[in-house]
Structure formats: structure tokens, C-alpha cells
């Protein structure tokens, strides 16, 4: 494989992993592992917003490339598959087209169908509400509100709004609907419904990755991720807070 072809593949693999929410060390390791499988020396430096790769070719000259990463969407399945692909390259080394083909497959593989995800969001809203000692009725209300919030969130995501804006609106929406629901059915418990239906928006990925990055010494990435988590939580909280203060003030 030519150095620039190898670089292409390594960049692509890294890009898929990073955009899907992989930890920094995993992306760096995967890139180096791919290069090593083809007996090439390589260094990689990955930030949450970009990937840098240097490869030394057979004549000892260095080639460098970098890729800017803009949007990120959590997709644990893709991380899993690129990870497995890079490990399989250690055993056998297919040619450029074959590897690129499998990477393209991974990139275009479909997510769970939207109705399935909507259902899952609804079920987990229900489950979390019960978990926080809500009643079955609270759970049922949270299931509906969680589904509505997820639906709106998905619509905004398809229009490529900013993630912060999406969370803000999801939080505010869940807050308002929950208040209205309690107004209609006073047996319900506002705060259990709101928390239950918003649990899946909490930035679990940013927090988990931020900590792991710190452990592996990727301090820049760690602080960035934790900062991102803090911002996301704040935005969500402000959304809910606005709903609460307006709602409680009016009623």
C-alpha cells in the first residue's frame, strides 16, 4: 500500500471513531495499529476537534495530513466496528480498495430505525422515572413526554441546529409539557417526570470519555470534554429552569 493510501485509510478510520464519540487514546491507538499492520512507522495526535497523522515512507521522508472534525454524534456501534476492523488488519492485510470499502460500509451503516429509537427513548424515560421512585402514572407520563422531546430533538438534529440549542429546547419543552400535565392531572409528580424524560440527554459520553482521557494523559482532550459536559448540562438546566420559573409564576 502506498503511504498516501495508508494515510487516507488511517485518517478515515480515525475520523469515523472520533465523530462517533470514541476516547482519544482509542483513536490514536487505532491509527497507529493500522499503520503498523502495514509495516509503516507513524505518529498520531488527536484532539477532540481534529486528527493529525505523520507517516514515514520507505525512503525515510515524512508525510503529514490532518483532518478537522466538526460535528459529533454518539454511535457506539461504529466505534466498535472500526476497532474490530483495525484489529483484523493485524492478522491479514487486504489491499487499499478493500479496506476503504469496509470503512465506507461502516460509515454508511444505518442506525436503528427512528421508530425503534423513539420507542427506546420512551421506555428509558419510563424506567428512569420509576427508578427515581415515581409512581407508575408518573412513568407513563414521562414515557409520553420523553417521546415528544426525542421527536423534537430528532427533527432539530436533522436540520443541523447546534447541539446546545437542541438541548435547550428539549429541556424547555419537557419542562413546559410536564407542568401542563401536572396541571391536568394533579396526582402526577412534576420533577420526577422531568428528570425521567431528560435522563438520556445528560452528557454521559462526554463525562466518561473526559475522565478516561485524563487517565491516559490526554489532558487537553479531557478538559475540553469535561467543559463540553458542563456546558451541555448548563444549557439543559437553563431550559428546564426557564420552563419552571415561567410555569410556576403563571399558575
Amino acid at each position: 500500500m502506498q503511504p498516501n493510501e495508508l494515510m487516507n485509510i488511517a485518517l478515515k478510520a480515525g475520523e469515523i471513531m472520533l465523530t462517533s464519540g470514541a476516547e482519544i487514546y482509542r483513536v490514536e491507538e487505532t491509527i497507529v495499529r493500522i499503520c503498523k499492520s502495514y509495516n509503516t512507522y507513524c505518529e498520531s495526535f488527536v484532539l477532540p476537534t481534529g486528527i493529525f497523522i505523520s507517516i514515514r515512507d520507505s525512503e525515510d521522508s515524512m508525510h503529514t495530513a490532518f483532518k478537522r472534525i466538526h460535528d459529533r454524534k454518539v454511535d457506539l456501534n461504529r466505534i466498535d466496528r472500526v476497532n474490530n476492523l483495525s484489529r483484523s488488519l493485524q492478522v491479514s492485510q487486504p489491499d487499499y480498495e478493500a479496506v476503504l470499502g469496509s470503512l465506507n460500509d461502516i460509515e454508511t451503516v444505518r442506525q436503528h430505525a427512528f421508530p425503534a429509537r423513539l420507542m427506546a427513548a420512551s421506555v428509558s424515560s419510563f424506567a428512569f422515572t420509576i427508578l427515581f421512585q415515581g409512581t407508575w402514572l408518573d412513568g407513563a407520563a414521562a414515557a409520553v413526554i420523553g417521546a415528544v422531546a426525542y421527536l423534537v430533538n430528532e427533527m432539530m438534529a436533522r436540520r443541523n441546529l447546534y447541539q446546545f440549542l437542541e438541548l435547550f429546547i428539549a429541556g424547555m419543552l419537557a419542562g413546559f409539557i410536564s407542568l401542563a400535565a401536572v396541571r391536568l392531572f394533579p396526582v402526577l409528580n412534576v420533577y420526577k417526570i422531568i428528570i425521567g424524560s431528560l435522563m438520556i440527554y445528560l452528557p454521559g459520553v462526554s463525562i466518561t470519555n473526559g475522565i478516561k482521557d485524563a487517565l491516559y494523559g490526554d489532558l487537553v482532550a479531557s478538559l475540553t470534554r469535561l467543559g463540553e459536559a458542563l456546558l451541555l448540562v448548563t444549557v439543559l438546566a437553563v431550559g428546564v429552569g426557564i420552563a419552571l420559573s415561567v410555569g410556576i409564576g403563571r399558575w
Binding site: 424506567a127 420533577y191 454521559g204
Partner: protein, 144 residues
């Protein structure tokens, strides 16, 4: 007992929205159930929610690293859905509520509680990962 089932469902559902697929989805759900079971046990003994969260997170971390090795997947596939039930959602909410009611003293109390819970999860996962990394490093040096 139905609480553990709910933790399982919650993690399973959120795992699905993060696009975990196939039987790994079941294992992601079990991760949440395991963490919550440990949390409940310790909470009934100690009565401290932050401490119980901490040990629960260690349990999730250990479970995820083990499952990752058996199923040949990154451990985050199991740990990210798994920690969700432990996240201090209630105190976070109570903090927001206190802020909207202009009750700043209470808001500070809740904020400390929330940060404590989040920190406990973070440190729990970190411990488990560090432990497993140490072991796999030792294995590698033995092989070499």
C-alpha cells in the same frame, strides 16, 4: 427488585439510542442493572448516596471492562449506558428548582450534592479502568 429491572430497561433504552446493536444491547442493559443493584445494597447499609454512587460506578466500570474483553468491544459500549441510572438527576433538578425559587442557600447545597455524585461516578469509573489497564499491561509484558 423491580427497580433493578427498571435500571436494566433504562440502560437498554439509552444504549439503543446510542446505537448499540445486537446482543451487546442486552449486556449494556445488564451493566446498568449491576450498577444499580450495588448502589441499592450499599445505600441500604450506609445511607450515603454519594458513597453508594461511587461503589456503584466502580461496579459498572468492572463489569464494562470484563464484558469488553469477553465480547471484544470497547468498554464504553457498556459503561456509557451503564452509569446513567447513577447520575444524580434528582439533586441536579432540585438545584435548578432552588435557583428558580431564588433560594440560593439551598441551591448551593444541592449543587455540592450533584457535583459530589458526578465526581463519585467519575472517580469510580477511573479506578476500574486504571485497575484493568494495569492488569492487561502486566499480561503484555509477560508475553513479551
Amino acid at each position: 427488585m423491580h427497580m433493578v429491572l427498571m435500571a436494566f430497561l433504562g440502560s437498554l433504552g439509552s444504549g439503543l439510542t446510542f446505537n448499540v446493536k445486537g446482543r451487546k444491547l442486552i449486556f449494556a442493559g445488564l451493566s446498568g442493572a449491576a450498577g444499580w443493584l450495588v448502589y441499592l445494597l450499599l445505600y441500604s447499609i450506609s445511607g450515603s448516596s454519594i458513597f453508594s454512587t461511587f461503589v456503584g460506578a466502580i461496579a459498572v466500570g468492572f463489569y464494562s471492562e470484563t464484558a469488553a474483553r469477553y465480547l471484544k468491544s470497547p468498554s464504553t459500549v457498556f459503561s456509557i449506558p451503564g452509569i446513567l441510572p447513577l447520575v444524580p438527576g434528582i439533586t441536579a433538578y432540585e438545584m435548578i428548582q432552588a435557583v428558580t425559587e431564588n433560594d440560593m442557600a439551598n441551591a448551593m447545597v444541592k449543587m455540592v450534592n450533584t457535583l459530589g455524585g458526578a465526581g463519585a461516578i467519575a472517580f469510580g469509573i477511573l479506578l476500574a479502568t486504571a485497575f484493568f489497564r494495569r492488569i492487561s499491561k502486566k499480561k503484555k509484558t509477560k508475553q513479551a
